[in-house]
Symmetry: C2
């Protein structure tokens, strides 16, 4: 329902964090909250919260604030987690297993339908009740199970090839943990999680703090 206005990626990056805080408030039994109160908890400006939300419509009420549960649900809809998404994990190493075992994703509607690897030693291994499958049947699996998202927890040298393969089989989005950029058609959605880059940013900040401390 958000019309034609383009939502900036800065806003989209913040949405899940709003959702998390509102979820905690719901759990805590809080029924209403003002942008001011929420801003002090989240350490952002109240102005930013109101601006962000108003990209999607007016969810609050003057003089009252926001109904926590309602706003939580609305942001859930905006984030597209009011429905389920079929997902596969490619790469059954520790990281792949960690994602399969983290049940919160399923709670949010991301249904893990299959786990794949190319190591014959892992074939049939059970991870949270799911047998690891070999890569050869993956195209059919994607079609038969209406897979929307493929999570890549594989080494970087295999990532470009595997991502092309699953996209051709019909996957619409890639959650990419491989330490490389993928080269896919424009209409394929890619969300990168580059852990080594995250660690380098941490390292940058350490190096930089030290410097100012020594001055």
């Amino acid at each position: 329902m958000q019309g034609t206005k383009k939502i900036s990626s800065a806003v989209i990056k913040r949405l899940p964090r709003y959702y998390r805080y509102l979820g905690e408030l719901v759990e805590g039994g809080v029924q209403r909250i003002s942008s001011k109160e929420l801003s002090s908890r989240m350490k952002v400006t109240a102005s930013q919260i109101r601006q962000d939300l108003n990209n999607f419509g007016g969810f609050g009420q003057q003089g009252y604030g926001y109904n926590v549960k309602y706003l939580y649900d609305e942001i859930g809809k905006i984030l597209g987690i009011d429905r389920t998404h079929n997902m596969i994990i490619i790469g059954a190493g520790n990281l792949g297993q960690a994602i399969v075992n983290y049940t919160d994703f399923e709670k949010r509607g991301f249904l893990i339908k299959g786990v794949f690897d190319n190591d014959p030693q892992l074939e049939g291994k059970e991870i949270r009740g799911m047998r690891v499958r070999m890569m050869n049947g993956i195209t059919e699996f994607i079609r038969d199970n209406n897979i929307e998202i493929a999570t890549l927890t594989i080494p970087k040298n295999a990532a470009k090839e595997v991502s092309s393969l699953v996209v051709q089989a019909g996957v619409r989005a890639i959650w990419n943990f491989a330490h490389t950029d993928l080269n896919l058609p424009e209409n394929v959605i890619v969300e990168n999680v580059h852990l080594s880059e995250s660690l380098m940013r941490l390292s940058y900040t350490i190096a930089n703090r030290e410097q100012s401390e020594h001055e």
Copy 2:
């Protein structure tokens, strides 16, 4: 050496990606590159590359471009990976194990000195030649081993307490995989990796693309 000018976080976020691309060029035996050529590979503007680099000094040469190896090394220094960082992993579940087993971090100078958990069943378990330790000795361990970074791969309900504990023991930076914000003194560096938020951004984009496709 970067003087007093404050570097924007937008620039810092891009630095590791420059470093990755330059590393690949070094491996590929490429000796020089222009901002234009790099920009077309990385799909950013040449102007942005030159602006970003000039925050830290002039690394190029008019009419020539940049020496790949030199620029790679210089960005490495800026990122603080020209030296080693002692690190511990708290939480020996799949995610913690994945990080311990991912040897590239060690190659970049992030030395994993210990792995901790509070599950007695895991005590002494070997992960890449390292015994899992119980939490009770962690304060001494941090002091004795000069630990700079603590990686938290533990559930969110434990994260705030554990992070305070290790900070008090002398840790300067937290690499936080727990799905919560930590509440630490200003001088402590926190780098968050919130996987569920990443997945929600992916989901947002899916929901949003569908909409425009249907119009």
